[in-house]
């Protein structure tokens, strides 16, 4: 059996990541985190918002993923994400600004809808901060 998984992460905007890795963990929409090792049963599920990690040469690396679908085979994991980025793509200053704005909107929100969208924006910025290893992200 193959000892590695081909991890591919693509979004409508760009292919984000493609390489052989030895382990993957990603968030699902319905059932928490799925950890995938080589030889996993074929599986198809909806991806949630959060952090994906993969292990390459014994090193853990992080990616953000926001929604989409994952298809798992014995030797591959394909993530069709709505949005995704590697740590390098994250612009800390912008994310921090997003977080402050989301916090402000959260305080001012009156309707259910405003509240939900502000919360979603806050969550997204926290996920990005966490991926980048920023202290503010650890409260998430």
């Amino acid at each position: 059996m193959s000892q590695s998984i081909k991890l591919e992460v693509v979004t409508p905007e760009r292919p984000v990541f493609s390489a052989e890795v030895s382990e993957v963990q990603f968030p699902t929409a319905a059932r928490g985190y799925y950890g995938i090792l080589p030889g996993h049963t074929p599986l198809m599920t909806e991806v949630g918002d959060g952090l994906l990690y993969y292990v390459q040469d014994g090193q853990k690396h992080w990616l953000t993923v926001f929604g989409g679908f994952a298809e798992v085979g014995p030797d591959r994991v394909t993530i069709l994400a709505r949005e995704s980025e590697t740590v390098d793509m994250i612009d800390l200053e912008r994310v921090e600004a997003d977080r402050q704005r989301a916090l402000k909107l959260l305080k001012e929100a009156h309707t259910e809808h405003d509240l939900a969208s502000a919360q979603a924006a806050l969550d997204a910025s926290l996920i990005r901060l966490q991926a980048a290893g920023h202290p503010a992200g650890h409260g998430f």
């Binding site: 599986l43 679908f69 069709l80």
Partner: protein, 293 residues
């Protein structure tokens, strides 16, 4: 000389036209690059999406225990096509060679050929809207002057509408007629059926070997969310293909126009010089013969 003045004026006018066509070519090149970048970025995603959907669909088809929900039906068991929805994608502006003519010709052929009734027509681009008006078809959805950034909204609107119509039994299929982008120099007018999905024999044979997937949390939940995304992705790809094709076609047309203008200027300049030379020769002859006398 009477002709000289006229020719000079004509050269000036052709030069002005050439300047315009050159500028348009340049603008199209920039726009082409933008559309093409987005298209090239989307193609791997769309390709993977298609692959995944094919696998899941052929998996579900092969399993009699799974009862597909309403959205899944659209992809699994095509009904007889009696009423269809058609999206016609052309451009807002002209001056792009055969771009609009070709896609509208394809639309004509499709309309003549199909046995189904087109119950819902969406037109993207002014040229498509004009075509519909000329043929006395009412376009239920008109999308005019949509910028590249507005595509997502159009796509969501059409795909959600079409899915709802399918569920309600108002339509049996969704078609898109657009220009496929081969390269900046070449486009192919294409009629594409978005759903029900065509699973050709080749892929079905190959996929049958695949191990069956677990679909979590349950097959229907996955399909119900996956299929609308698939339709959206395909529509978005078609719009981008058309947009890239349009700019490619315009660039090619304007390049040709600039070249033709250049040729014309060269010809006119030659004629002008000949006439001028003839005039000078005439005058010399007159002077010489005058001196001799």
């Amino acid at each position: 000389m009477a002709g000289l003045q006229d020719i000079r004026r004509r050269i000036r006018s052709v030069k002005n036209t050439q300047q315009v066509t050159k500028a348009m070519k340049m603008i199209s090149a920039v726009k082409l690059r933008k559309s093409q970048e987005r298209l090239v970025a989307l193609r791997p995603y769309a390709g993977k999406m298609m692959e995944v959907v094919r696998r899941v669909v052929s998996r579900i088809k092969g399993d009699s225990e799974i009862q597909p929900g309403p959205a899944a039906q659209a992809f699994l068991s095509p009904r007889e096509e009696k009423r269809i929805r058609v999206v016609l994608v052309a451009s807002d502006k002209g001056l792009c060679g055969g771009f609009n003519a070709n896609v509208l010709k394809a639309a004509n052929a499709f309309a003549a050929e199909t046995t189904a009734e087109i119950v819902h027509l969406d037109v993207v681009g002014k040229r498509a809207a004009e075509w519909a008006r000329k043929r006395n078809l009412t376009a239920a959805g008109e999308y005019l002057g949509i910028p590249l950034t507005g595509f997502q909204r159009v796509v969501t609107e059409i795909s959600e509408g079409a899915a709802a119509q399918y569920h309600a039994g108002e339509i049996d299929a969704l078609y898109v007629i657009y220009n496929y982008f081969n390269s900046p120099m070449s486009q192919t007018p294409t009629v594409f059926r978005v759903f029900p999905m065509e699973l050709d024999r080749r892929t079905e044979g190959r996929e049958a070997v695949e191990v069956s997937h677990l679909l979590e949390p349950d097959p229907n939940a996955v399909l119900e969310t996956l299929l609308p995304r698939f339709v959206e992705t395909e529509l978005l790809r078609n719009l981008l293909e058309s947009s890239a094709s349009e700019h490619g076609a315009r660039m090619a047309a304007m390049d040709k126009a600039s070249n033709n203008a250049g040729e014309m200027i060269a010809k006119l300049t030659l004629t002008m010089n000949k006439i001028r030379q003839a005039g000078i020769t005439n005058q010399i002859i007159e002077i010489v013969s005058g001196a001799n006398a």
